[in-house]
């Protein structure tokens, strides 16, 4: 490390009170920012759980659909229409809805029901117990072992429940990549059984799962479906649509963004003010360095290094603390929805860089303005 940076480092860390205050400020700000962003990311991830778990290339839906749970049934002829589009490799219906289960102990539990196309079982989950073929057995359901599984109260192979006066039986247990947003367990069955067991409207298809022949066919499929008055979206587009709904139309996004902004402001004010005080306390010495012959770029380097060191250390501590808190929360609350994503970490990093930049800007400005002549006059 160059000598001038060593001096900057020692000036910073040897002033333990200020260094601690600076670190606490930045760490706390990063913790809050990352925590807020992680919670939001967790909520958004879960809001698209069905899309992620089914994993279809394209989804066809009514244009008014805003979330996966908010299904608007499609008429059967849409399935035939979509299947007739030249670029479609295959298209199958899927049922997605809610049902009230009566469990063995007499309690009731709301659940998500996913009905897979009987012919192809496209979108089937990864089995951990039982066989996917058992889904064709009488009254068969596959329970998803996710964060909400425990709400089925000890469900195992062979467990039975009631669904709208129909008997249901767990014939398999499976895993999916994402838990649902609304804290309800998920059961998979066949499309036809879902229609039989759950009261339905005139039209019954929740979504069409479409596989284009090539990615070049996607645009044409979307155009044809749109011409029929429906909406075809790729998996990513559908997830973005759902995220956009929660972000901009529910208040969740605005609240999270406000909290993140407040965290940023808190961090900036604590660290900015403390750092500026730190510079002011050493201003005569910086002036003395200028008188001795330090060049402005050397002093700027020192200040930027100090601000950068504090902010990066605080960033590391804040992210580490946030990860530890999420881990701890998940150990206690299996359905705790928080997700550390690269974009969250990147956002927090950018904000920390801004904090470092603004904090050091005022310090640099003050140091550049000090006239060495003032040192003699003092």
């Amino acid at each position: 490390m160059p000598g001038i940076l060593r001096i900057a480092y020692k000036l910073l860390v040897n002033d333990r009170a200020k260094f601690t205050a600076l670190l606490v400020g930045v760490t706390f700000a990063v913790l809050l920012m990352v925590q807020m962003a992680s919670l939001f990311a967790g909520v958004l991830h879960r809001s698209s759980a069905t899309i992620i778990n089914v994993g279809a290339g394209m989804w066809v839906m009514d244009p008014a659909v805003q979330t996966v749970a908010n299904t608007i049934p499609l008429p059967n002829y849409v399935l035939d229409e979509v299947r007739s589009i030249p670029g479609v490799k295959y298209a199958v219906p899927i049922y997605s809805g809610a049902a009230l289960l009566k469990l063995n102990d007499g309690s009731y539990q709301a659940a998500n029901i996913v009905g897979l196309d009987d012919t192809t079982l496209i979108g089937a989950p990864q089995m951990v117990a039982g066989s996917i073929q058992d889904i064709f057995a009488e009254n068969a359901f596959i329970a998803i072992d996710d964060a909400e599984f425990y709400k089925l109260k000890g469900a195992r192979l062979g467990s039975e429940f009631e669904l709208n006066d129909h008997r249901g039986r767990i014939v398999g247990i499976a895993r999916v990549p994402a838990s649902s947003l609304f804290g309800t367990p998920t059961l998979y069955t066949t499309y036809e059984r879902a229609l039989q067991y759950i009261p339905n409207t005139r039209f019954t298809i929740s979504y069409l799962l479409v596989e284009p022949k090539t990615s070049a066919d996607i645009a044409a499929i979307k155009a044809r479906v749109a011409a029929d008055g429906y909406l075809a979206l790729t998996e990513d587009e559908f997830m973005r649509r759902v995220s956009g709904f929660y972000m901009y139309q529910t208040g969740i996004g605005i609240n999270m963004m406000l909290m993140t902004l407040f965290s940023f402001v808190i961090g900036l004010s604590i660290s900015g003010q403390t750092f500026y005080t730190f510079i002011l306390e050493n201003i005569d010495r910086f002036g003395a360095l200028k008188a001795i012959g330090a060049q402005s770029r050397g002093l700027i380097t020192m200040i930027l290094f100090q601000a950068g060191f504090v902010c990066l250390t605080g960033y590391g501590l804040g992210v580490g603390l946030c990860a530890a808190l999420i881990w701890l929360a998940r150990a206690r609350l299996p359905d705790y929805a928080a997700l550390l994503t690269l974009s969250n970490l990147g956002l927090a990093f950018i904000m920390v860089v801004v904090i470092a930049g603004i904090s050091s800007y005022f310090g640099v400005r003050r140091v550049l303005l000090i006239e060495p002549f003032e040192i003699f006059r003092s």
Binding site: K10, N14, A294
Partner: protein, 234 residues
């Protein structure tokens, strides 16, 4: 080395604007040779600190020229002037301006660090110079653990570490008791002065005039006289 170290001719310095404009130094000349100690003395507000700042390359004169070893220092670009001060001029400030969070040795090493010298080399050199000023056993302490006289010596060690030709002292005895002050100036005279070095001291302290070769008096921004010190004139 011998001859003229610093030569300032017709320097003026104005401060402020409009009615608040003041003429701090008025058409002053200054000359200091290698091998001598020159005092700049005068009452508060007489312009001696302004004069010191101008001849050491810290404050640009409103008019006039300052030459150090023949170089017109105010004709140098800012970075070159800073570099010139770093290599050629040693400063000892009235309040020392030592960094309290660094050790004594680290404080002394700063000019070498600014010259991009290796950290370990700079510290080794600093320890040697602390020996020169009699503080070899204080190298690892922070300056706040030292007495005023010792801090003054640390500031001197910092000033001499880059082996400057010119040394500038601002009120070196102002914060010290009489005996310590005399010891410091005696040390400056006996250990730091050589025929390759010129020392300029701004002071109010008439008790130390005896250590000067020449005394330049200032009053109301003007040089009112330059005289040889009685003791050294003998």
């Amino acid at each position: 080395m011998s001859g003229v170290a610093i030569e300032a001719t017709g320097i003026n310095r104005w401060f402020g604007e409009g009615e608040a404009r003041t003429h701090a130094v008025k058409d002053a000349d200054f000359r200091a040779n290698f091998g001598e100690i020159v005092y700049v003395v005068g009452p508060s507000g007489s312009g001696k600190t302004t004069m010191l700042s101008m001849i050491s390359g810290i404050l640009r004169p409103t008019s006039g020229s300052v030459r150090i070893e023949g170089i017109d220092i105010w004709g140098l670009p800012a970075d070159e002037l800073a570099d010139f001060r770093l290599h050629r001029i040693g400063f000892v400030f009235q309040d020392y301006h030592l960094f309290p969070r660094l050790t004594t040795a680290e404080n002394v090493a700063i000019p070498l660090v600014l010259q991009n010298r290796d950290w370990a080399d700079a510290l080794a050199e600093a320890r040697k110079d602390l020996e020169v000023v009699g503080l070899g056993n204080r190298a690892s302490l922070p300056p706040v653990k030292l007495s005023g006289g010792e801090q003054q010596r640390v500031a001197i060690a910092r000033a001499i570490i880059s082996r400057p030709d010119i040394m500038i002292f601002d009120e070196p005895t102002a914060s010290l008791d009489g005996e310590t002050g005399r010891n410091i100036v005696r040390f400056i005279r006996e250990k730091l002065l050589s025929d390759k070095r010129c020392i300029v001291i701004v002071t109010h302290d008439s008790r130390i005039y005896e250590f000067a070769d020449r005394v330049m008096r200032m009053e109301d921004g003007k040089v009112t006289g330059v005289e040889r010190s009685e003791m050294n004139a003998q």
